[in-house]
Subunit: 142 residues, 2 copies
Amino acid sequence: MTYTIGEFAEKTGLSTHTLRYYEKEGLLYSINRKSNGLREFSDKDLSLLNIILCLKATGMSIGNIKQYVNMCKEGKETEKARKEIFVIQKQHIEEEINKLNSYLETVDYKIWYYENLAKLGNEEDPQNCEKMRNIYDSQNNK
Amino acid sequence: MTYTIGEFAEKTGLSTHTLRYYEKEGLLYSINRKSNGLREFSDKDLSLLNIILCLKATGMSIGNIKQYVNMCKEGKETEKARKEIFVIQKQHIEEEINKLNSYLETVDYKIWYYENLAKLGNEEDPQNCEKMRNIYDSQNNK
DNA sequence: TATTGACTTAGAGTATACTCTAAATGATAT
DNA sequence: ATATCATTTAGAGTATACTCTAAGTCAATA
């Protein structure tokens, strides 16, 4: 199965501009060209793009993704290094999830704060803020 | 307790440049000035900054954070809208955590893939990639 | 065949969030 | 007092990742 750049853009949700940019930057390195010069995207390009988007969405820069892709091109000798990239990326993702869970607690407190502000006092008083924090913490066994 | 910009930078891990930038953008709006014009950061500034950093780390742009901060300045009448901001932000964080968990699965597969490549075949063969995916999925009850 | 719309390129422009510079003033130690 | 270091400002510069433009070519249809 092959796709024009427009079809591939539609399929992946990226713009044609972005797809050309990714090719120019060396992320999508195996896009075939028809004899007339038009790009012909394949399912192989799709699975590479999915990995690229995974790495990008989990915080890797275009520059570093390019390094990974270059390793893919080099073949067998870089397999160990490539595995390491995913091991490290896994750690990054786990750290990010932990961070987000802790920010979730901050946000939960803020929601509770605004829900209980009317009942418990007024915002302008810094001492009241501290009082509210204490009530929240005791209600949540902190 | 008050701090110079250098001390506050040290305490928060941000640069003095960034702190001045946040003030200029209206994020840190209540920084006191001494009679000689030097900034005097307080614990109130610190707790506002912590909320700013929470919103930023969970994906809110400087521009949107500024809108939230402007609401804080406006007082009581914006309390409801401010609560809504945190409710929406909570949803964003939960979605992001779900997304990261699903990327974690992709990364786990990639790690397994490189660990088992030697045993199970070679990378150049696309059919082998599919075979490996099937083995992985059956081992993981997918 | 003519039009319309998708595709091609190189390169310019944009948005975001800093990050740094220069020139002047403030603070502190000898 | 003088050197040294921190702080001040406005504004310029940078990094990243797109995003768009212009001028031209390719493909499908009336």
